[in-house]
């Protein structure tokens, strides 16, 4: 499963991307991430999660998951991510950081 998080927006406006292929993870890490994808009902999320209000200069995330059979992508603002999706974004970041370099 490949999970990708792209961040855009913010005052700076520089895009950033984190990308994790769960095949390189330990069994425990892989299960944790795949559980988050499932719990977040990721493949059932809309392509664009509506913004609850205007959020100038906040970050915007584009998250995509490809499990080999299906692929899906959603966009969500920094203030509007449902808790489980927020956890997934964080987890992908943590993994990308811990395995960097």
């Amino acid at each position: 499963m490949i999970i990708q998080v792209e961040r855009s927006g913010g005052f700076l406006g520089f895009p950033m991307r984190a990308r994790v292929d769960t095949r390189i993870l330990s069994d425990e890490e892989r299960r944790a991430v795949e559980t988050l994808v499932s719990d977040a009902d990721f493949f059932g999320l809309p392509e664009r999660i509506p913004a609850s209000g205007s959020a100038p200069d906040r970050f915007l995330y584009a998250v995509s998951v490809d499990d080999g059979e299906r692929s899906h992508a959603t966009m969500v603002g920094e203030t509007d991510a449902p808790p489980r999706l927020r956890d997934l974004i964080q987890q992908v970041m943590v993994i990308a950081r811990s395995t960097r370099g």
Binding site: I2, V5, E6, R7, S8, G9, G10, F11, L12, G13, F14, P15, M16, R17, A18, R19, V20, D21, R23, I24, A51, G53, S54, A55, P56, D57, R58, F59, L60, Y61, A62, M75, E78, T79, D80, A81, P83, R86, I89, Q90, M93, V94, I95, A96, R97, T99, R100, G101
Partner: protein
């Protein structure tokens, strides 16, 4: 594309999303990851944050500033560092936020006769030291929030300085508040790029006024103080020459267009609101330089009155061009040099003002800008 076994985190050169190389030091990547992971935890916190008091001031024209620190957490507003009238706190970020909010307030009050963000003396609440390594600043609907950038990293690893370092960033964030209380401007596509542009315009006016700079002498760079010496660039955005602010091996090249021919279609950044803002930014610059003198006196007045009275949530670039042209006609007379400067400014970015929709001339154009606002309100019934 990166090999599957190699997770990736980096700052992307704009428009090169499919041509990524892992760049930056480990610390820089780590810092970027922290910003992303922390910022995702905002929603619940946002729901419980207190609203700053909106006072019923007995006297207009009185600043009410409070600067808090979040102590590197996401808690807002945080712990008080400095209140109105108190001496400098000794905390550089807090004192910059205080002074910058003051200079911004003064621009609105002394030049535009607007009493604070809401026009009714709203308290100016700022929080500094928001999260750790947060490379952003924002207006959250009721206050300003500033991150420290990379200032806790060793100098050689830093890309961004604290976001209070540039006074135009402070003016920019406060202007988001003014837009919220006036024209609205949906934060998407062209209306969103206009929202960004009005913030850059009033942000740069705060800076130019503080420096007593004429339009022709100013550099028109947004975020000049935001980059560390490790970044190759003058600043974040150039209103004078969008697309030329920086060209850096790590950050890539400034992606802003300065003409409708280069308008960027994207789903990122709410439709490129921080990118396409280069177009209306340059229109303002061109009009201001054409008019000469201090940019806040005429061009700023025209843009402010347009935002206050005419801009709507869905206004697009063409609408902004037509409405600023109409405002210039009301303020300075139909066919005036000021109105022609506005038309030329928009023409310079590829937008032709539709003059057929201009309102009838104002019968008694006010002689000076000092009382323009109140006179106009009477004349237009707004």
């Amino acid at each position: 594309m990166t090999a599957p076994h190699n997770p990736l985190f980096c700052i992307l050169p704009p428009y090169m999303l499919d041509n990524i190389a892992e760049k930056g030091t480990d610390e820089q990547k780590s810092r970027a990851a922290q910003t992303l992971s922390h910022s995702a935890a905002m929603r619940a916190q946002r729901e419980v944050q207190p609203k700053p008091a909106v006072g019923m001031p007995a006297v207009s024209g009185v600043k009410k500033r409070t600067v808090y620190t979040a102590d590197e957490t996401a808690s807002l507003p945080g712990r008080v560092l400095r209140q109105e009238g108190a001496p400098p706190s000794g905390n550089p970020a807090a004192d910059e936020a205080y002074d910058g909010a003051g200079a911004t307030y003064d621009l609105y009050w002394q030049i535009f006769q607007r009493d604070s963000i809401d026009g009714a003396g709203m308290a100016l609440v700022s929080t500094v030291h928001y999260q750790k390594g947060y490379d952003n600043a924002f207006w959250n609907g009721s206050q300003m929030v500033y991150g420290d950038g990379d200032e806790d990293l060793p100098p050689a690893q830093q890309l961004f300085r604290r976001f209070t370092a540039s006074i135009d960033v402070i003016g920019h964030e406060l202007a988001h508040g003014v837009t919220q209380f006036t024209g609205g401007l949906n934060y998407q596509e062209q209306s969103g790029a206009l929202n960004e542009s009005f913030s850059d315009v009033f942000g740069i006016l705060v800076k130019q006024r503080q420096l007593a700079q004429q339009a022709s002498d100013a550099d028109w760079i947004i975020g000049k103080e935001l980059f560390s010496p490790n970044v190759r660039g003058q600043g974040l955005r150039s209103m004078k020459a969008p697309g030329t602010a920086y060209d850096d091996p790590l950050l890539g090249k400034d992606p802003q267009p300065g003409h409708m021919d280069q308008y960027v279609k994207t789903t990122a950044d709410n439709g490129g609101v921080h990118i396409n803002s280069g177009i209306p930014n340059r229109a303002f610059y061109l009009a201001a330089v054409e008019l000469g003198g201090f940019a806040w006196q005429k061009a700023g007045q025209i843009w402010y009155v347009t935002l206050r009275d005419k801009i709507r949530a869905t206004t697009n670039f063409q609408g902004a061009a037509d409405l600023t042209y109409a405002s210039a006609g009301q303020l300075y007379g139909q066919g005036s040099l000021e109105q022609q400067a506005v038309r030329k400014g928009w023409a310079g970015v590829g937008i032709q003002v539709d003059t057929s929709s201009a309102p009838p001339p104002v019968e008694n154009p006010p002689a000076s800008s000092g009382c323009l606002t109140s006179v106009l309100k009477l004349l237009t019934g707004k």
